[in-house]
């Protein structure tokens, strides 16, 4: 009996050790980033760093306000563009698509979520940026750009198509398959009897979708959108290609700008001293933001099942 127990104990300890790795890594990551950020945090203070406008090598003053703004605006714009398209796609896949095409189109969308972000970035730089600059930008500049007050925010000051708006579009394209996949799975979970009851009382197809399917699946869809937001916040390569990395005031959505990730990707390898420490602080901010977003998603999704 003793001989058969020992391997079991050893195996149990091995598996426990492996599982504990996750906690060790996450705690280690937080502590390491905190330690590396310490010089910048001590020099500027957390809130002064977070809301500092400058990112100046010559004067050695670093603040996260602009990268933070860039990340928030690009992610927000991306969600505004992606959510309707993704939900429309999911509605089409579940409710309208002929059965024969359903699994084919569904798989295609899932595969597109697997394409590495650097590929999206390259495509964004060589295809999307010139296309938007030629066709879409003049349209907006000519209409929204003429508005009083808000107008300047939609005017073009830089050529090249590499700007905050292009970054938002590429992020939107990247998260569309992700949200569409989650929404499709959620729509598929709606019990047929609910839809049948809706048709039974005379509702049209759209009324059934808008008043039965969407309310029934709203928590799952919201969870999916929040997870997609987490992805967009931390997306690096695609954004680094098309954002332009310009540390300046945000005068228009068609101007090159910075995000947290683009600053890190572009400057980390050549940074030293206080700048390096500031980049680590950006990483820490991103990690904490991501944790909060994902915890929120978990909370939203959990409340559904309880």
């Amino acid at each position: 009996m003793k001989t058969s127990k020992l391997p079991n104990v050893i195996f149990k300890l091995l598996t426990f050790g492996a599982a504990i790795c996750v906690i060790v890594l996450i705690v280690g990551m937080l502590l390491t980033l905190l330690l590396e950020s310490w010089p910048a945090l001590r020099r500027f203070g957390f809130f002064d760093f977070l809301f500092g406008r400058n990112w100046n090598y010559a004067n050695q003053i670093f603040g996260a306000l602009r990268p933070l703004t860039g990340t928030i605006i690009s992610t927000g714009l991306a969600l505004v563009m992606a959510v309707p398209v993704a939900l429309g796609t999911a509605v089409f896949l579940v409710e309208l698509c002929p059965h024969k095409l359903r699994s084919g189109i569904g798989t295609a969308i899932e595969l597109l979520a697997a394409i590495p972000s650097i590929i999206y970035g390259m495509w964004g730089l060589f295809v999307l940026a010139p296309m938007l600059e030629e066709n879409f930008q003049p349209l907006i500049v000519g209409t929204l750009g003429k508005l009083p007050l808000m107008g300047p925010f939609f005017q073009s000051h830089y050529a090249g198509g590499v700007n905050l708006f292009t970054a938002a579009v590429i992020l939107a394209i990247m998260i569309i398959p992700f949200i569409a996949g989650i929404a499709r799975d959620a729509f598929n979970q709606v019990p047929p009897i609910l839809k049948e009851s809706s048709y039974g009382v005379g509702a049209t197809h759209w009324e059934t979708i808008a008043q039965v399917i969407l309310p029934y699946t709203k928590t799952a869809v919201a969870g999916g959108v929040i997870i997609a937001m987490g992805r967009a916040l931390g997306e690096t390569m695609a954004v680094a290609y098309v954002i332009g990395n310009r540390h300046g005031g945000l005068d228009s959505i068609f101007s090159p700008y910075v995000t947290i990730t683009s600053v890190m990707a572009n400057e980390f390898n050549e940074a030293a001293g206080l700048q390096m420490s500031s980049l680590f602080t950006l990483a820490l901010v991103l990690l904490i933001a991501n944790f909060m977003v994902l915890s929120l998603a978990k909370y939203v999704l959990r409340s559904k099942f309880n």
């Binding site: 598996t15 980033l33 330690l35 993704a86 595969l111 650097i118 049209t204 808008a210 992805r231 990707a265």
Partner: protein, 281 residues
């Protein structure tokens, strides 16, 4: 009757909009694939796989052989570290530790860790494995990739093993087998297709990663596979070549992007087929 017509019109408009959304989404995504295919196939040739990088001024010379091998080496090393750890960790969550609170915590943390931005993992590994040694090195790159796949594999393994019916384990216990033998001979066997798919998808995910390699293994223009020094990688080469002003480098970046995309899609398709065949057969 007027009201009914109005509802019918709304219905048609809304459903058309949904179809339009699907058309836009699909069109955009197929355009990307088409452009990668067009530009990639236009620049691909044997030199890409047989020659090492050359200065951009020499037309018709140079390839990315070293980057292909380096990327393979990094991915392999990451898999060798991450896959066994992940499977063992998932085993604890679904078997030994299933009634412990800590398993639920680890499971939840893994779910969150799956979404940690890869560039943050890159900075963490830089601080731990690059800074103390004073040089970018291959092991750091492999470690960063391993950290990315660890939570993915832990969660898939846990889910797949949870799907194995308890009656199977009880049958093995009744024969007098200790728990570790039950896991090895019964649970792993039943869950093997699912775990295999999880591993393939995880490898597909890191095969295209760039951000975590930028600060860890970096890149090298030379044919060198020494893991204690900077190791060339395909994705970082794509990043640098595509941003360069040289036409032949940009062409090579497209060709490399095409190969990476094909590899990632192929791994995904194989993984899906594995699980589909297993479920049917």
């Amino acid at each position: 009757m007027n009201h009914l017509n109005q509802r019918k019109v709304t219905n048609i408009i809304a459903l058309s909009l949904a179809s339009l959304c699907a058309a836009i989404g699909l069109a955009l995504l197929f355009i990307i694939l088409f452009d990668v295919l067009k530009n990639g196939l236009g620049s691909i040739n044997w030199r890409l796989f047989t020659e090492d990088p050359a200065p951009p001024t020499i037309a018709g010379a140079g390839g990315l052989r070293s980057a292909f091998l380096g990327q393979g080496l990094l991915t392999l090393a990451a898999a060798v570290i991450g896959v066994p750890l992940g499977i063992l960790g998932g085993t604890f969550l679904s078997e030994y530790g299933r009634h412990h609170k800590i398993s639920r915590v680890i499971s939840m943390l893994s779910d969150i860790a799956v979404s940690i931005p890869s560039i943050v993992i890159g900075t963490f590994v830089y601080a731990v494995l690059v800074k103390p040694f004073g040089s970018y090195n291959g092991w750091a790159g492999a470690a960063a990739l391993a950290i990315i796949i660890l939570p993915i594999i832990i969660r898939t393994t846990e889910d797949m093993m949870n799907m194995v019916p308890w009656a199977l384990r009880e049958a093995a216990f009744a024969l007098g087998a200790p728990y570790c033998r039950v896991i090895w001979n019964v649970v792993y066997r039943s869950a093997s297709a699912g775990i295999f798919t999880g591993v393939l998808l995880a490898i597909a995910r890191i095969a295209g990663e760039t951000a975590p390699l930028l600060f860890t293994s970096f890149n090298s223009n030379f044919f060198q596979l020494n893991m204690s020094a900077p190791v060339p990688s395909l994705t970082v080469s794509i990043y640098q070549y595509a941003a360069s002003p040289y036409q032949n480098w940009v062409g090579m970046a497209w060709a490399a992007a095409f190969v990476v995309t094909c590899f990632v899609l192929l791994m995904n398709i194989i993984g899906r087929l594995t699980i589909k065949l297993k479920v049917k057969g």
